[in-house]
């Protein structure tokens, strides 16, 4: 039962609960019009303490397409946080107005603080370099649609594996499926954090290898997950400049990949994927963005506990 629960990190839901969300997302993709009144009278609060275009729009579009309404802020300067209010108090107050909330914050674990203070479902829309579980839902739905299953896959993760929250969440989620192996492609300075290595890979006995050159791995992977080196995660501008163009996926490298390999990217892209790759049928990152909205629609419905039939039900205030 997903109703009333929060999604703070990928392991909050079981594999079966993921499947429940994907099945509903499939139905929405097939016939979106059927769901347009599902969340009528429900209110989503978007608390974005860090700039976001894609994720915020994706959540807002998801709620509006379900017939619901949205309130919120897109940067902390326009909220009471600028006056020094704590995260816990902000979320506790918002929970008096909204039925469900989405939070993005530059500090790792901030949504957990929010969820501890709130009695409405709270969704982590990215916390610093830590986790981004709804991007993982997006990634998994795209993989499921393309590969049919998650088992037996060799997944290459390339770029900023240290601060790349989408990478950490995806690895966590995939670690529960059988016969998955990882190829970790990153410069020495941006290797995966200790907790991912110890708690996800070593603890679960998941095979992985680490390489520095994309060319050395691209031929063996079924999925290539490219990431951007994020300027906002660096304390030192010099390090960012040195590492930002470390990997560039282009047509020449794509020629060395399997014919059924797929390329994913959480977006936005900067230079790490050449524009020429966009027309390659294996490049699925824009399709992935569309799946993101559908899977968020499914997630909102599940956490609110609404069904297509219950579209007449009135929303309830929960303060």
């Amino acid at each position: 039962m997903l109703k009333g629960r929060s999604l703070l990190e990928p392991m909050d839901f079981t594999v079966e609960e993921y499947e429940e969300i994907f099945t509903l997302a499939d139905q929405i993709i097939e016939e979106p019009g059927r769901f347009r009144e599902t969340c009528r009278n429900h209110l989503l609060a978007t608390l974005f303490f860090e700039p976001s275009t894609r994720t915020r729009f994706s959540f807002e579009a998801a709620m509006l397409r379900l017939g619901g309404k949205v309130i919120g802020f897109s940067e902390p300067g326009s909220s009471s946080v600028a006056k020094g209010e704590s995260i816990a108090d902000t979320v506790r107050t918002v929970a008096c107005y909204a039925d469900i909330a989405v939070m993005r914050h530059p500090k790792e674990g901030a949504p957990r603080v929010g969820a501890m203070a709130s009695d409405i479902p709270l969704i982590n829309a990215g916390d610093g370099g830590h986790q981004h579980p709804t991007q993982t839902l997006t990634d998994l739905l795209t993989i499921r649609a393309s590969k049919g299953a998650f088992t037996g896959l060799t997944v290459g993760l390339c770029g900023d594996l240290k601060f790349g929250r989408t990478v950490h969440s995806l690895m966590k989620a995939l670690s529960r499926y059988p016969d998955v192996r990882f190829v970790l492609i990153s410069p020495e300075e941006l290797v995966i954090p200790d907790y991912v290595r110890k708690e996800i890979l070593q603890k679960n006995g998941i095979p992985f290898r680490e390489v520095r050159r994309l060319e050395d791995a691209i031929g063996e992977v079924d999925i290539l997950y490219m990431t951007r080196v994020q300027k906002e995660r660096f304390f030192n501008e010099e390090d960012y400049v040195r590492l930002k163009d470390y990997y560039i996926l282009d047509g020449e490298k794509m020629a060395k990949a399997k014919l059924d390999m797929i390329v994913l990217h959480p977006l936005p892209r900067v230079n790490e994927i050449a524009v020429e790759v966009d027309k390659d049928p294996r490049a699925l990152y824009f399709q992935q963005a569309k799946y993101g909205m559908y899977v968020r629609m499914a997630l909102i419905m599940k956490l609110l506990g609404v069904t297509e039939e219950a579209s007449e039900r009135k929303g309830e205030l929960s303060c």
């Binding site: 704590s86 995260i87 816990a88 914050h105 530059p106 500090k107 790792e108 674990g109 901030a110 957990r112 603080v113 916390d127 610093g128 370099g129 830590h130 954090p193 200790d194 907790y195 110890k198 708690e199």
Partner: protein, 160 residues
Amino acid sequence: MLVINSIEQGIVIDHITAGLGAKILNYLDIDTSKHTVAFIMNADSKKHGKKDVIKINDVTDIDVADLGLIDPTATVNVIEAHKVVRKIQLSIPEKVINVIKCKNPRCVTSIERNAPHIFHLINEEEREYRCEYCDDIVCMKGDWQNEILRKEWPSVRYGK
């Protein structure tokens, strides 16, 4: 031979690994309290060769569970009317709250003043703990201890 008299009421933290007594004392913040404290370093021990011992007069209500984080081999004896009424063998705690301070500058605990610092044991042998919020891992062996133990917090227990 150094002689320290027995106490009428209080606690004796015994069998502390030699060298860790100061860390326990530091953590308990006893030096600023009003209680009489005896701290013995490098006492002879049949079991360990050398040990540290701490005796605290008139205090019996210290939450000692967290002390296992610093030295799980130590024992705590609660004394009443010159007699040991309770003997506690310390162990490595599974979860500690407001004892370890997360050192990750990106962790939400660095800005959210009232968020409790919560850590979970993930590797008993290496004494590694994971932060509830950011998943950062800290090792409670060796020199880390002085940096991450929040010695000012236990003072709350004394009602100061």
